[in-house]
Amino acid sequence: MRSHKTPPVAIVGGGIAGLTAARALRERAIPVRIFEAGTELAGLARSFKDEQGFSFDFGAHFVTNRLAAALDMGAVCRTVPRYGEVVRKGGRYSAYPLGLLANPRHDLSAASARLRALFDRTPPRDAAEAFRREYGEAFADEIALPLVEAWAGAPADRLAPSVLQKLPGSILRTLLMRAAGRLTHRAVAIGYCREQPESPHVWHVYPEGGMGALCARLAEGLEETVSLQSRVEKIYVVDGRAVGLRVNGKDFDAAAVISTAPIHVLPKLVEGTDALAPFAAFKFRAMTFCNLHLHGRGLLPDVVVWLPERGFRTFRVTEATQSMPWLAPEGKTTLTIDVGCHAGDAWWQLSEEAVIDRCLDDVRPLVPDVRERLIGGRVLRTPIAYPVFLREYENARRRLSEDGTGVAGLLSVGRNGEFDHLLMEDVYYRTLDRARRLADELRRAPAPRNAPSPTPARRRGKAAVASRAVS
């Protein structure tokens, strides 16, 4: 029998976005149900620890003390004391981004680009043009664009100008924040959050037990609403409104659906409308993160080394232990080598040993004795590391970010659901906001499926769902 009370809001995915949405709705007394395809929660924010005491995440991962405090986790987070990036070019390192400003050739070309921009106010056509206009040709062509291309896996003239997301705040402000960070031995979060203001009082922290602990915290009290190993296979849309879904072959009614699945998958899940069809073309960059566990510490000149030169397979090597010494046993370290690829290509299919072997070659110019230092390695892969803003679907991307899915009662939230480069604090605040708005809507008008006289079409659709529904 189908129960007559209002069905819960169904949430697709148990990462930070799904769990945040669930909490926000529960706070507004709206029942929820979370379906997570995997065997555990946390999604991209999962943490791993191996037998030898090395911890790692997808890339280097940390959050802000402000997010930790929101989840009452401040007391179990460690302060990240420092964070810095350098660019390696022609065998020399310069601090990023400010050290690069010291290069007169870059400055000259940037100045002339700015001057030209005064007379040419047409919007840039693509990312290449946007970067050249913003930073000058020298810096764009030698540093920024090669990195963008390696990271996105597409030539810069195929990328939309929106790839260039200008950092909020002025250079002076950034300098002050850096100084504050140095003075306090806290890695002040610069260029991390967009939803909330930057401040010298907001810095990076890392929870005991890894990033995954954050999601475990969010899941506290929601246990009975979470179903693991429950891949959502279909989302039913009737008369332009999401009304239910299918999970592991079973149908469920839903007052609304909040999806955190990657946006390009959503059109395949949704049945009953093709409003989402344009999103199917969106591309994500797949990445392998090769963690090399090594003897020694401080093998790189700073936490992150950017490698714009074509000779490298990777565009970025990270030594997270310089920021977070607790990630490796004392006297040992981890280098993480990020290599972009396409899911299914030759690199993607390489064995773990082969990836490690090639990455060792790749970092040899940076750490000549890297092979002698090797203890072991682990490779993480994700097909959805970064959304790629191609020009060909820029309009659809804008529409998604401004108007959402276009289907009533169907939200697409989270990093991959919004198709945006969101970090966890932004995901948290954006999702809270949207879930609360949905709660207000549901309060104001109960789902139309309960309306007294449904149209014939709706009645048919409803019956179709109902007949599939398992109570």
Partner: protein
């Protein structure tokens, strides 16, 4: 559906989610992250937020009521602001407060009943006892037994409890004082309602509380502002939000202005120094025992108060006299 709570972290406090007491929702942006810089009662990290709808600043999450004894340790200053421990500062403060308080009491009958809601160590009642009229009947209430003891030592009548839970005579008091207390309570609207109901129609309530529209807040509000007093100040007001709270309860606002106080200035600097691990001797220059710093910031804040930006809000509210009262009792 029960509210979602988190289990306390090791050594952390039991915390609970909070909502804006004006709109009943939590729809807010974070404004500050801080610690218990003054007493270090826990390793917890706290977050102050601002309601997007009402502008009220409040702590969220906040310590559960079961943690009161932990966050108000035995050496908490409100229980022991004695001449012995505070010397010159105590003497000066008494004088200044006496002037202010007698102004609030202007027009009270000789046998007025005065209630200090959240009387702490009884400092204000004692000032009234000494400088006020002999016929005034003075009472205090405070939920903390230490406050009741301190009051008894000074020969004052102090009831233990809150204005909501104590069975005080209704429509009785001529004046209620609520000084540096509203920010501490978890249900400001409930407290104001309680005060409203024990006042006689036409009776007044004087509120003094930290002001989030002051230069000290603007400078230090991201973390070190003394007015946060993490985690003991649960709600922080502006003229707008305090006026809204008063109106909600049915009070008429007779006056709403800012007054001079050096305390948040001094403690903001102290918190900053503590946070930066400044030298002990320097930190000690900034406290309630530092006449120099208090004097200097009194002068500074006097200038701010002149332009309506003093560190502390002062509201005089009136329970409407019967013939104009809209609120039925």
């Amino acid at each position: 559906m029960q509210a979602l709570r988190w289990a306390p972290t090791p050594d952390g406090l039991a915390m609970e989610p909070a909502r804006c007491c004006l709109c009943g929702l939590d729809d807010s942006d974070p404004v500050a992250v801080g610690e218990d810089f003054e007493y270090r009662t826990s390793p917890e990290v706290f977050r102050a937020v601002r309601c997007r709808r009402c502008d009220l600043v409040y702590l969220n999450p906040r310590p559960a009521p079961t943690e009161l004894s932990r966050i108000y340790p035995a050496d908490y200053h409100a229980y022991d602001f004695s001449p012995e421990s505070f010397g010159l500062v105590h003497a000066v403060r008494r004088r200044l407060e006496a002037r202010r308080m007698l102004a609030w009491c202007a027009g009270l009958p000789d046998d007025a009943r005065i209630l200090d809601v959240g009387c702490g160590d009884g400092f204000h009642l004692e000032v009234l006892k000494e400088f006020g009229r002999p016929g005034w009947r003075l009472e205090g209430i405070d939920p903390d037994p230490r406050a009741v003891e301190a009051g008894a030592r000074r020969g004052l009548t102090v009831h233990r409890g809150t204005v909501q839970t104590l069975d005080l005579p209704r429509s009785t008091y001529d004046l209620a004082l609520h000084i540096m207390t509203l920010e501490h309570v978890d249900d400001p609207i409930g407290v104001l309602e309680g005060i409203h109901d024990v006042l006689r129609p036409g009776g007044r309530c004087v509120i003094v509380t930290d002001n989030v529209e002051s230069p000290d807040f603007r400078l230090f509000g991201g973390r070190h502002w003394g007015g946060y007093h993490f985690p003991r100040h649960l709600h922080l007001f502006s003229k707008k939000t305090l006026g809204a709270a008063a109106a909600r309860v049915g009070f008429e606002v007779e006056s709403l202005r800012t007054i001079v106080s050096p305390v948040n200035w001094v403690y903001s600097i102290r918190n900053l120094l503590v946070d930066l691990q400044g030298p002990e001797w320097l930190v000690e220059r900034f406290s309630l025992r530092s006449p120099g710093a208090l004097a200097a910031f009194t002068v500074l804040d006097a200038v701010n108060a002149r332009v309506g930006r003093g560190a502390v809000l002062n509201a005089v509210l009136r329970r409407p006299p019967l013939h104009v009262s809209a609120k039925a009792n």
